[in-house]
Symmetry: C2
Subunit: 362 residues, 2 copies
Amino acid sequence: MLHLFGKSDDLIVHGRAPFNAEPPLDRLRASFITPQALLYVRCHGDIPALDATHRVSVGGLAATPFDADAAELAARFAPHRVRSVMQCAGNRRADMRAVRPVSGDPWAAGAIGHAEWTGARLADVLRAAGCRDGDGLHVAFESRDVAETPDGPARFGVSIPLSKAMHPDVLVAWAMDGEPLTPEHGFPLRIVVPGYAGVRSPKWLGSITVQDRPSDAFQQAKDYKLFPPDMRPDTEDLSRGFTIDEMPVNSAICVPAPGAALAAGGVAVGGWAAASGRAVVRVDVSGDGGRNWTQAEIEEHDGSPWSWSFWRATLDLPAGEHELCVRAWDAAGQTQPALPDDTWNFKGYLSAAWHRVRVTAA
Amino acid sequence: MLHLFGKSDDLIVHGRAPFNAEPPLDRLRASFITPQALLYVRCHGDIPALDATHRVSVGGLAATPFDADAAELAARFAPHRVRSVMQCAGNRRADMRAVRPVSGDPWAAGAIGHAEWTGARLADVLRAAGCRDGDGLHVAFESRDVAETPDGPARFGVSIPLSKAMHPDVLVAWAMDGEPLTPEHGFPLRIVVPGYAGVRSPKWLGSITVQDRPSDAFQQAKDYKLFPPDMRPDTEDLSRGFTIDEMPVNSAICVPAPGAALAAGGVAVGGWAAASGRAVVRVDVSGDGGRNWTQAEIEEHDGSPWSWSFWRATLDLPAGEHELCVRAWDAAGQTQPALPDDTWNFKGYLSAAWHRVRVTAA
């Protein structure tokens, strides 16, 4: 199955139907631009079998609705390239699950990647359709995949505010890292919304609809919300959650791996850090569980607010057991919570506590 | 002295020379628009004795520099009104000082206020001066007050990026809540930069200069930076701090007061919450030190990203001692750190841990 997808053989597979997998962190950290074969895969149903003739419709509150396939979009609209993180709202859920049970796959810190996306600007596409403009409007996307929901099988659907949709970096994308999208990443067309959780960047795009309310599809209306800590799965008052669009500042140690046996002395530590449209201004690393901190070097960053940063540091570790920690800071002086319990929610979303890795030096 | 300033008699005065004072929290919470007499006062030197004929110069990288007094600005530029929080970077420093010593006045949670400011758009003023536009430029402000600095007495000065200066809500302001600025709040003219720490909104404005680098005045170059936790006052490598502009999401319990003796049963709790240009989407309140949380009602908010929210909740408190806590969440799912130690820095800036108030119910 992995072979069919053209994905790397060493992905950590959380489930096969639907297919959900993430790369090992050392592999993820090896390339500032994530290869398509290594990008995490989050599916809600089977991967639709679409070919290049698949057409996307653009309509709703639009004077001149139209439909087009990928080649027609590429011919009609100036291609635009954007480097952006793609990150699942459930990234690092495993850490939150260690506190108390949560629903959903136990993602480690690899449900994130950073790619160069190519496509038409959604704003250009919406203008070409003569879409209405105005406060309070939304752009809904329906995909061709079918998800199991509590209400039965239904097409995957989400929406974003029109004000965000008009940002020049929001794309109807046909390529990742210069290659056509592979089937598991949305071939032939997907949405890319920089700065928003991955769920708002649907794959296998079927339709784009301007409307006066958010999508009423399950994923928009009843899921992917940050629920308060006192809310349990059997609580049905979904109005108590807020829609996850932007995500908090987060970071992870990719090297060394948890449980690593190291030579005492200077130990190289490295990982990623990302904020949602804000710059990462500092990364702190600790070798003693957060009692003392030192600043990591930002090894690689490209200046885009949508990109991640690669950081590295050398920690001097004497023989013994050590808890390594990392936390990043964004330009507003926001940093990560110390403990997963500080922000626990029953869906395990936005898990962003100091990332901790226990190692032994000898 | 308080009488001279026209300030409320019950301000908590941290120092008289320079004059630094904040309102009691119950007084602050009594009005969604903070009266000028109650707004915290942060001075770095004596209050300059300026009259209405005081002129501000606009120049630097500008084709047509000019100077003007407040009346001329009001006649030449369309007045613009903006509701915005003004908050000191050191607000809530007292909580951080309780962990380990920090420098600066021990502000409680009252070094914040929310006002309607009236003035000319800084962007209009810069355009009228034919200021150069472009990436990497800064707008420097010099004030008429003189601060004691480690390098001797010097005029107060700061700067903001030109890209922020051109935002239509950044003002050269002459009025607060419809009244001319009082002397302690910058009469006759001050800058108002919504979403940034108060230090970037200088009072007693003397000059506006477009330049190719940040201000080299003490307050910009060597102070008001977030320094890492391992840095101590005797460390001189200021490059390790990052300039505080935007501020993290924060909140405080204004009622009841610390140490209050209450009747057991339903206890009304209320306070403020603010994020820096992001919406506050939820406020959690705890009656047991953060073990269990309930959601507060947002009692008042005006929809502006620069405004604060007033929240309230009723907690059921049995007889005994209780630690009340509050934490707010912004639209990116950022919330506050649990403990002041989590973000401690030797200047005590951006103190935003869960605000805790101990009370007794009988």
